[in-house]
Symmetry: C2
Subunit: 279 residues, 2 copies
């Protein structure tokens, strides 16, 4: 695949992520044709109204059969389903990549169901928002973000790399398992904690929400359909991390029970040091 020669890109799953990619690509490559898939009449009407796609297509065969590049912006589980659905219609040399937050499962699925003359490239740009839906798309969503590519280096993956770089991403090659371990710690467990915190707090206390409480619960607004999938697709890593985190909370509980100020200060000091390295 030669980026300069790509004429048509098809996006399956035009939500916040897919929509923002469409906007960014159209801005950077004005001659490029970007089609999007609509799974329902409601999404067809919405995407037509938003108007940033060259065509909104409801027929998968028509959508993918002459696309050089196909992008999945769907939730993790749906990607598996749609990989199967499109595989009969793909032309030779088609490159397919996704934007999913977990990678091992999707990549093994892709290997199973896609024809061997196509290339699947696992991608995960670390961008997003607690908002969802194509109507919140931003052409700048990916600018300045890290983008993981979890397929081995090759001519094709390097082309996908340049695509992301042209949108302002810093690309990091990594294997899918390491990716999933990192994301569990840095994103999936934090979402679980934020959901739990929002759920935990009594309703009548919410009017007293401090700025820090708002920060900690902002992502508790993230969509259940997307996140239940992520939690399940990466459950082994998340369960391990949750266990580690529970141990830390239990340490606090013990030290608090014994009013052990020195130990509590030590725990907070450790957290302070770590936080200073978050950039």
């Amino acid at each position: 695949m030669d980026l300069a020669k790509v004429k048509k890109i098809a996006i399956i799953g035009v939500g916040l992520m897919g929509g923002s990619l469409a906007l960014a690509l159209k801005k950077k490559f004005p001659k490029l044709t970007v089609w999007g898939f609509a799974r329902s009449q409601a999404s067809y009407r919405k995407l037509k109204r938003l108007g940033f796609l060259d065509k909104v297509e409801t027929d998968l065969a028509k959508l993918v059969s002459d696309s050089e590049l196909i992008v999945f912006g769907l939730p993790v589980e749906a990607i598996s389903v749609y990989l199967k659905k499109i595989s009969p219609f793909l032309k030779k040399g088609t490159v397919i990549f996704d934007l999913g937050s977990t990678k091992s499962l999707i990549q093994s699925q892709a290997k199973k169901v896609l024809p061997s003359e196509t290339v699947f490239v696992g991608c995960h740009p670390l961008a997003g928002s607690e908002k969802s839906g194509a109507e919140h798309s931003l052409s700048t969503l990916y600018a300045g973000s890290i983008c993981f590519i979890t397929s081995a280096k090759s001519k094709t993956t390097r082309t996908v790399k340049s695509l992301w770089e042209s949108l302002g991403c810093r690309v990091i090659f990594i294997d899918p398992n390491s990716h999933d371990r990192i994301l569990s710690a840095i994103s999936h467990l934090p979402h679980l904690l934020s959901f739990s915190l929002a759920d935990f707090v009594p309703k009548n206390y919410l009017e007293f929400a401090t700025p820090s409480f708002k920060d900690l619960t902002r992502i508790a607004n993230s969509p259940a359909s997307v996140w239940a999938d992520i939690f399940l697709a990466n459950r082994k890593n998340i369960l391990k991390d949750l266990e580690k985190y529970l141990k830390l909370l239990k340490q606090y509980r013990e030290k608090l029970k014994h009013s052990d100020k020195t130990a509590i200060i030590k725990l907070i000091d450790k957290a302070n040091l770590k936080q200073k390295r978050v950039r």
Copy 2:
């Protein structure tokens, strides 16, 4: 106490909170004299250099003996110590208030050690920052914040109320125990979770910090000396809340272990609903 007649205010504990109060008061009441206490030579030099106080005083007796109003900007435990130290020097009718994040303990201490002809008013403005130190003071820190007053309504507490209102706060009267229960849920437990999250994450993952991870660990930079005190002063409520929170995490663990997608979606849906009420 008549606000219009107050000539001198003394601040004991000129850090971010005390310093910001000094700045805000000087801006609103240009004729007011604001003195600050320096516990050490280093803090004396720093406060002199910052220059926003009318006088930096190292002698507690001189500081408080002719002040109509004394404000404590110290960490919770230090307030108890200094309440005792100043009590011999207070003139009749002096009003003392604090800015501490827990209230029951401080108020019972104040009752014990202060002369009966003075009035202690528990105050807690819900403002702050993960930064600390007088050098980060902002005259606007309190504008738009809620300020809890945890002493019963009286002529004096109503005057303190107008003082906070003149700085742009919305004042809510509440009893100290309810205050401490609310703050445990809305601020103290969230800090504990943020400290634990920063501590939990492997060092070499930090370069991949997402915007949401940064939001969740921002307050993990909060000073250990201040927060160990808060945790201990409000330990009973925090321990109760921690127990409730651990139960929620264990629910997630169970549902994840059994790959129970429906149950996980239900949990996230509940969190989404709560989050929408955070304003």
